[in-house]
Amino acid sequence: MKSIVCIKRVPDTETRVRIGSDGVSIDPSGVKYVLNPYDEFALEEAIRLEEEAGEGSVTAICLGPPAATESLRTALAMGADDAVLLKGEPSHDGLVTARALAAEIEGRDFDLLLFGKQAVDDDNMQVPAMVAELLGLPCATVVVELKVDGGRVSAVREVEGGHETVEFDLPGVVAAQKGLNEPRYASLKGIMAAKKKPLEQKEAELSGSDLELVSLSEPPEPEAGEIVGEGADAVPELVRKLREEAKVL
């Protein structure tokens, strides 16, 4: 089982986001960067599939700045075999990122191409299905359960209030949702081994975009509400306000 997993380096979800002085990026000072949480599920699944098959490989690919080698080392420490850094700034336009990844992946020999379902920075949720389409491959997004039997994939994806199953033949693309598995922590042994695993670096092929990022802004601060009261005695007044002031009941 040969897998490729595309990962991204993103600000930790506890980050307080501030807009940078250029108005089109976030202020990186004090921001802690991590491997995108959903990518951990994709990596875990790829590593398990290799372990179960007893053969194969897991290649991690990341489009990002030089500092993103840190995320690739995390992937290698978890169990990926080799890694590629495509040096460049990930675009706000998912199509630009998808084209750069597809250009790298095209021509590689693999069974399954995995992604996290979305990166928690731009929340675009575009790249996995775009890469699939660029490569002419079948695709299942937001996957919470995956079975690979012979060359056949059965993937359960999360939809509103339910699930739907997608079936296709390998090679194909899967975008992982939380719940797909329980990602492992890198062991000390894994971290040591990761230092010796191959990590190739090359320039990303970033094309132009027809989508201009005009500006970033912070959302308006919510107006402070009111404490209606304390304890159960405050409930009638709350219900009255919800009906008469807010008109939502």
């Binding site: 807009i19 976030i26 998808a98 929340d123 389409e133 739907e164 296709f168 409930v235």
Partner: protein, 334 residues
């Protein structure tokens, strides 16, 4: 004169509610760009009748492809239809819902059309003839303003933001021939889960519980509150209780869960971690019940009660039941 294509979705033989929002948003955009609205409907035989109703929300032409296979999600057929329609019509924009299907389909359509995509759009305007949109990043901790050049502008719109608006006028239903055969894989029909078809991201009211609930068994309190509130209500959960295995992940609200924009959001026993606030702060009205008066949830709540949720919530359920029996306070949307 650029028209707009509104891509709808059906499930279990009916149009999904969010499709009326897509048509409504398409109508306002088309009015600004001086064009008409085409609504694309793929569904099982008989869907055409209900689809005709989209005219009331602004569709001029309702292009209906009926096939047994369209009872389930049929991405390959939908892509064929979008590509063909976009080739034959000079659309200024193509709109889909930022739903499970829309978010799966739109990126593929973007590649087919060779056009960029804006996901989860919450505002649309036209400046110098170009569609300009606003969409949240970092689960809403930042907002991006994006301007399209070239056409069509491809976007998915966030549920519950562009509320369905009826207008005078009717649409014309026209049959559309779309090959149903999947080319790369097969999608089975949806199996509904515990909450039926209503998802926390599309609910009118969300009742969310956090660690303050103390134990998964105590969710019966929230179930009762949900039942008292009537239709269109879904349960939500904080990351802490999902990580603890108390509630399923599909209920999680926040940066690694769902971003919700309901009319009314109840945060029960939720302190308000930054990643949770990111997911629910755009709810129209927020009610928080927490025993800690310093909990950050009170900074975003419109109405708060400081107290023991095990006393407050049952009382709330009772009072809401009584209030509802005394007659509707407001006429419900939809």
């Amino acid at each position: 004169m650029a028209g707009v294509l509104a891509v709808t979705e059906t499930r279990a033989g009916a149009l999904r509610g969010v499709s009326r929002e897509v048509v409504t948003a398409a109508r306002s955009l088309a009015d600004e760009m001086g064009g008409g609205v085409d609504a694309l409907v793929l569904g099982p035989p008989g869907i055409g009748e209900e689809a005709g109703g989209l005219g009331a929300f602004g569709a001029d032409r309702i292009l209906v492809a009926e096939d047994e296979a369209f009872g389930a999600y049929a991405p390959d057929a939908a892509l064929r239809a979008i590509e063909e329609l976009a080739g034959a019509n000079d659309y200024g924009a193509v709109l889909l819902a930022a739903s499970a299907r829309g978010k799966d389909l739109a990126p593929r359509a973007a590649v087919r059309l060779g056009r960029p995509l804006a996901t989860d759009v919450t505002e649309i305007s036209v400046e110098d003839g170009r569609p300009v949109v606003v969409r949240p990043l970092y689960a809403g901790k930042a907002l991006a303003r994006l301007a399209f050049s070239g056409a069509p502008a491809l976007m998915t719109i966030r549920p519950n933001v562009f509320l369905p608006r009826e207008r005078e006028g009717e649409g014309a239903v026209e049959p559309l021939d779309v090959a149903a055969e999947p080319s790369r894989g097969r999608v089975h029909p949806v199996e509904s889960g515990g909450q039926g078809e209503l998802d926390v991201a599309e609910a009118r009211i969300v009742v969310s519980g956090g660690r303050g609930m103390g134990d998964p068994d105590n969710w019966s309190l929230l179930e009762e509150l949900k039942d008292a509130l009537g239709d269109g209500v879904a349960l939500g959960a904080s990351r802490a209780v999902v990580d603890a295995g108390w509630r399923p992940h599909e209920e999680q609200v926040g940066q690694t869960g769902k971003v919700v924009t309901p009319e009314l959001y109840f945060a029960i026993g939720i302190s308000g971690a930054i990643q949770h606030l990111a997911g629910m702060r755009t709810a129209k009205v927020i009610v928080a019940v927490n025993k800690d008066p310093e909990a950050p949830i009170f900074d975003v709540a419109d109405y708060g009660i400081v107290g023991d949720l095990f006393e407050v919530v049952p009382r709330l359920t009772d009072e809401i039941r009584v209030a509802k029996e005394s007659g509707p306070g407001v006429k419900r949307r939809d």
